[in-house]
């Protein structure tokens, strides 16, 4: 494998030097003008999102986009919203939730209270999944689920507890594969477009806007889920977030990552894997 020759630019457009400079300027502009810090986001992803936005709004150059960002304050939200990729589903990777039920739940059962942090919860599908899982394990009452995302829009969506009907069949299948022990249909009612999840599930949820790139921790947690979030970060930011998580986890706390994510080198030694291949890690006791 020729690892040096590979460039991940799969886009049809070549990456010009000017474009790179423009993107740097745009990112710097976002940070300086609005405190939106995307400086440590994966350039390739940001570039694609910028191109996408440019294509949708018929903007010719990134500099033009920067102009819009600086002079049309509402445009920032649009762009920032673009940068946050909101792809999620309920009981995403059912085997993960299955493993969580088998490996993590017995550990949680012993705790007098359970604090869970869903970092980068997006539109909340997984937060509700977790609540359902805990409910079925009779743990929901003593749990608090802190769900955060950098996108206010996503948080608002998540708060509503409504998910489109046209994705519910897939969610049902996921629920069943994740080892759901009750009736999925017992957790929601419907209108013509949405499945509206029972508000009792949300009783223990706390939603807040939180940016992993800039904000610090806000509590000590027994479980931190951050699935398919850090794939958008460069190693430096990943390192920062891992530190944040490690500092925020209680002794024997559990860290859950996405199916394509790995513990980066310096942090690997601080965790042990709970379930093979499910990216479920237990924080090791403090090394002396």
């Amino acid at each position: 494998m020729d690892h040096d020759a590979l460039d991940m630019s799969t886009d049809e457009l070549p990456v010009s030097e000017w474009e790179s400079i423009e993107i740097e300027l745009l990112i710097e502009g976002l940070y300086r003008a609005y405190g939106q810090d995307f400086r440590h986001y994966l350039r390739s992803s940001i570039r694609r999102r910028i191109r996408n936005r440019m294509c949708m709004d018929g903007v010719a150059t990134v500099t033009e986009l920067l102009g819009k960002v600086l002079h049309e304050p509402d445009y920032v939200n649009k762009l920032v919203n673009d940068f946050s990729i909101k792809v999620t589903e309920m009981f995403r990777d059912p085997s993960f939730f299955h493993a969580f039920r088998e490996k993590a739940v017995p550990m949680l059962r012993k705790l007098p209270e359970i604090r869970i942090w869903h970092a980068g919860c997006s539109t909340g599908e997984e937060v509700y999944s977790m609540a359902i899982l805990l409910h079925e394990e009779d743990l929901l009452d003593k749990a608090r689920i802190y769900a955060t995302d950098m996108s206010e829009w996503a948080i608002d969506q998540a708060k509503s507890g409504k998910f489109p009907l046209k994705r519910m069949q897939a969610f049902t299948k996921n629920y069943l594969h994740a080892g759901g022990s009750k009736e999925f249909s017992g957790y929601y009612s419907t209108d013509s477009d949405y499945a509206i999840f029972n508000s009792s599930l949300a009783d223990q949820m706390i939603f807040a806007q939180h940016n992993l790139a800039t904000d610090s921790t806000f509590n000590e947690f027994h479980v931190i889920l951050c699935r398919n979030v850090m794939i958008y970060f460069d190693p430096e930011l990943q390192n920062r977030v891992h530190k944040l998580f490690h500092d925020s986890l209680s002794a024997d706390g559990i860290l859950a990552l996405g199916s394509m994510e790995y513990l980066i080198a310096p942090w690997k030694q601080h965790y042990e894997e709970l379930a093979d291949g499910e990216r479920l890690f237990k924080k090791k006791a403090l090394e002396r």
Binding site: M1, D2, H3, D4, A5, L6, M8, T10, L42, S44, S45, R48, R49, N52, I85, K86, V87, P164, L165, K166, R167, M168, Q169, A170, T172, L176, S181, E183, F184, S185, G186, Y188, S189, T190, S192, A195, N228, I231, Y232, G258, S259, M260, E261, Y262, I264, A265, P266, K268
Partner: protein, 889 residues
């Protein structure tokens, strides 16, 4: 004693064997000697005894031969008989001497033997010789006499006895000899055994001594080796041998082997350590750092740098990735081209460079206190599949040994793979996460596109819906207008009929009341005549009202037939004056008619209707004017319109009522009606006629100052008239409806669209209910049909399959589990075997809330389950989910 000489094993063995051989030799010589002695003795005994017996026998024989020969001669006198005798005489003494020689050692036998000699000599002297001499002398008588007193016979007998005795004695002595020999023999045997024993003991002692001395050293070596083996290969242990023999050599050789093994194992364990170290590292920098940290102490290096290859082709460079004991960033060059310096050369040639005592300004090795100059510098290339991956440089205060080089050589092989692996793994991880990013972005983009599409679709749908609704509305309108036309026709007909029917009795009333009021016969008193007048006036009013209604209804029904012809405008004033002058005079109001100068004489329009309009307007004007004037004015406008204005100085119309007065049955207020009378239809009819004639009507009015109605009329042709008429008809039909319903309709339409959307997921959906319990069937069918679903019921699994075989366009199946004939599980399994029913949603209705049952349902092919008793809300929610078209995934 031996120890002092330090024999080697060979001499020990040789000496041992030699000693044993000597022992054996001595024993054999001794034994042989003894056997020989014994043999001699045996031989001696045998020959002597035999000789003795023989001699005894010979002597006996000689004696007997002499006697026999004496007697033969004596008998015969034959000299030949004397031969044995003579032989005996000559022989016996020799034999005797021989015998004597043997026996002389035995005194008793010797004595007897001497006696025998005497006896034989006696016989010869006394018997033998005398008798023979007698014969020869022929003295037979003497002979006989001699025999009568035979001395010889006595002697002979005596001799015989003595011989027997001596024979016995000799036998006895032989026996004694044999016993003696046997004893000696036994002694010899014992002696042999004793010797054997002694030899054995000596041999054993020698063997045990020699072997002990050999085994002892060997055991020492063996125990050392065992120790090494058992102590898990502590190859540092060495064998110590005190002897100077081959074992010592063996020990030395083994020690050499151990030393080489130790070196080998040091290399191997280090290599293995490196191999385990590289496992689990998936970061190249960490790998480089760990490598240096591990390897540098192994090779006694005090300074080390790890360069990794970056780029390909001509762009290949070496980049410093990690350092050992380096002073921060400064140690070593950060980036080196291939071929640049020794490190670059090492990369280029892929060979090891070792420089001892570099004289150039070598980088300093810094401790906390001092800086050293290295004595030796080593550069090792790391390769993978013939491609350089990295270069490691070490410097040391000592020289690198061949062992170090060998170690590095070994490590290099595996490490190349490790570097490549880690780089590969990093790349794979990066690619994986990047691919995840891409996937998610694509999903996102897809989602966005889907949203856009959906939005467009939705808009399209709404537009379509609206179009449909509009079309429907239009249709409805058309229907409506048709109906309206019909009803208007009915109305007209009815009104026409009615007016006719009304007119007939009304006419009678009018005529009769008029007759009564005239009171020609004076039969009524004044009051009664007044009543009749009132009846007549009211009747007239009623007739007028009926006519107006008839007109209006005709107009509204589009039933007015207009005829366009030349209207001579100059005639109109006369006609109007004729009609209204009396009223003007009566009310003392001025009636002025003005004609514009450039007014054409002829105008194309419906003259009759024009007159009607003017009459209406004028009568209106006169009605509401108590003083002042009423003016009628004709003008020809610049837009080629005929403008006719009627101006009065009456009560006027308030601004807010100006529009209303053209509506049917409207007047300024309720009081007006009472004050001025009239039906309120006049202006309506006017306005309608004006519209019919393609014109418009304007009103200018000020309260208490008067009003001015201006009618604008175009020149008309018949075609134009027709088109106006048609439009008017439609408008007439629609106007009412539109005015009343447009708002409602819109609201209704929106409501209907949303209503449709609300029920769309259920309305018209085909649901197959597989359930055997009649009560459940009844309840469910009722509930589902209330949502406009088409429900088909199958009483059992078999029936369900039959139904599905004949019609397969069901949207959803509700499947009870507990059923006769074929239960739900089996039915679902059968259904899923059919490729067309693979994706048909099946909702299992489970009786029990057990997870196992549900799992069984899912396994059998159910899409979802819901447990009985059914919550209808939950069921509908569930059905919504499974009836909604899904996206993605």
């Amino acid at each position: 004693m031996l120890r002092a000489f330090k024999f080697n094993i060979r001499s020990k063995i040789v000496i041992g064997y030699f000693l044993i051989l000597i022992c054996l030799g001595v024993s054999i010589v001794t034994v042989t000697d003894r056997i020989e002695a014994l043999q001699n003795e045996v031989e001696t005994i045998t020959t002597r005894d035999v000789e003795i017996h023989n001699l005894i026998a010979s002597i006996q024989y000689d004696a007997i031969s002499m006697e026999t020969a004496q007697r033969g001669f004596l008998l015969t006198g034959d000299e030949s008989y004397l031969a044995p005798y003579n032989k005996g005489v000559s022989q016996w003494e020799a034999n005797y001497n021989s015998l004597y020689a043997y026996i002389s050692d035995n005194p008793s036998t010797k004595k007897e033997l001497e006696e025998i000699k005497v006896t034989i000599q006696d016989w010869i002297i006394k018997a033998g010789e005398p008798t023979i001499a007698m014969k020869k002398q022929g003295m037979e008588d003497d002979i006989i006499a001699f025999f009568q007193n035979d001395v010889g016979k006595q002697q002979m007998d005596d001799l015989r006895t003595k011989f027997d005795a001596i024979g016995n004695q000799e036998v006895q002595s032989t026996k004694l000899h044999i016993i003696d020999l046997e004893n000696k023999n036994r002694l010899l045997t014992i002696g042999i055994y004793v010797l054997l024993l002694i030899a054995s003991i000596i041999s054993f002692m020698i063997v045990s001594f020699v072997s002990r001395s050999i085994v002892k050293t060997i055991k020492q070596v063996v125990s050392t080796i065992t120790e090494i083996a058992s102590s898990g290969g502590s190859l540092a242990t060495r064998i110590h041998v005190n002897t100077k023999d081959e074992i010592k050599e063996l020990g030395d050789a083994t020690n050499q082997l151990l030393a080489s093994l130790e070196a080998q194992s040091w290399i191997q364990s280090n290599v293995a350590e490196m191999a385990t170290m590289t496992q689990g590292i998936n970061n190249i920098e960490l790998l480089a750092q760990s490598f240096l940290t591990k390897v540098a102490p192994m090779v006694n290096a005090t300074y080390g740098v790890f360069y990794i290859r970056r780029g390909t082709g001509d762009q290949q460079r070496l980049e410093k990735l990690a350092s050992y004991a380096g002073s921060g960033e400064e140690t070593g060059k950060v980036s080196i081209r291939f071929g640049e310096g020794l490190v670059g050369q090492c990369a280029l040639e892929k060979r090891v460079f070792l420089i001892n005592q570099p004289k150039e300004q070598a980088p300093l090795i810094t401790t906390g206190l001092v800086d050293f100059e290295p004595r030796s510098v080593l550069m090792v290339p790391i390769e993978y599949e013939d491609r350089l991956e990295a270069v490691i440089e070490f410097a040391s205060l000592e020289s690198f040994t061949s062992l170090h080089l060998k170690l590095l050589e070994e490590i290099e092989k595996d490490f190349g793979i490790a570097v490549n692996n880690v780089a590969g793994r990093m790349e794979v991880e990066r690619l994986l996460s990047e691919s995840q990013v891409l996937t998610e972005e694509l999903q996102m983009q897809q989602e966005e596109m889907r949203m856009t599409t959906e939005h467009l679709e939705e808009q399209y749908l709404i537009a379509e819906q609206k179009t449909k609704e509009l079309e429907k509305a239009k249709e409805e309108l058309e229907d409506y207008s048709e109906q309206l036309q019909k009803s208007s026709q009915y109305k007209t007909n009815f009104l026409a009929n009615m007016s006719h029917e009304l007119r007939t009795p009304l006419n009678s009333i009018l005529i009769l009341s008029q007759l009564l009021a005239e009171n020609e016969n004076q039969t009524l008193n004044e009051d009664e005549a007044g009543f009749a007048k009132v009846i007549h006036t009211s009747g007239t009013d009623l007739l007028k009202l009926i006519d107006d209604i008839l007109d209006l209804s005709k107009i509204e029904a589009g039933k007015v037939i207009l005829t366009v012809d030349e209207v001579n405008l100059t005639e109109i004033p006369e006609l109007m004056k004729l009609t209204f002058n009396p009223i003007a005079e009566k009310k003392d109001i001025a009636f002025v008619i003005e004609m514009d100068a450039n007014l054409p004489n002829v105008w194309y329009t419906d003259g009759q209707r024009l007159q009607q309009i003017l009459k209406n307007l004028l009568s209106n004007a006169f009605k509401f004017t108590d003083k002042g004037s009423v003016q009628l004015r004709f003008e020809h406008t610049s837009q080629d319109m005929l403008a006719i204005s009627v101006t009065d100085t009456g009560i006027g119309i308030p601004k807010d009522k100006q529009k209303l007065i053209f509506e049917a049955f409207q007047q300024v207020d309720g009081n007006t009606n009472r004050l001025y009378g009239g039906t309120g239809l006049g202006l309506s009819i006017c306005s309608e006629f004006v519209k019919l004639l393609g014109g418009s009507i304007e009103l200018n009015s000020t309260i208490d100052k008067g009003s001015c109605f201006t009618v604008y009329l175009p020149q008309l042709s018949q075609e134009k008239l027709d088109s106006i008429l048609l439009a008017q008809q439609e408008a007439a039909a629609a106007a009412e409806l539109m005015a009343a319903e447009s708002e409602v309709l819109e609201q209704e339409m929106i409501q209907q669209i949303t209503e449709n959307a609300r029920t769309s997921e259920f309305a018209g959906k085909k649901v197959l209910l597989v359930e055997d319990d009649a009560r459940n069937v009844f309840a469910l069918v009722h509930a589902l049909e209330s949502k406009n679903m088409q429900v088909t019921v199958a009483g059992n699994g078999k029936r369900c399959l039959e139904i599905l075989r004949s019609e397969s366009d069901f949207d959803l199946v509700l499947m009870d589990i507990m059923m006769p004939l074929m239960d739900g599980y089996e039915t679902m399994r059968e259904m899923r075997k059919d490729s067309q029913l693979q994706s048909l949603p099946i909702i299992a209705l489970t009786a029990k809330a057990m997870k196992a049952d549900r799992d069984k349902c899912l396994e059998a092919g159910a899409s979802d389950y819901i447990s009985k008793p059914l919550q209808m809300d939950q069921l509908f929610s569930l059905m919504r989910v499974w009836l909604t078209k899904q996206v993605g995934n």
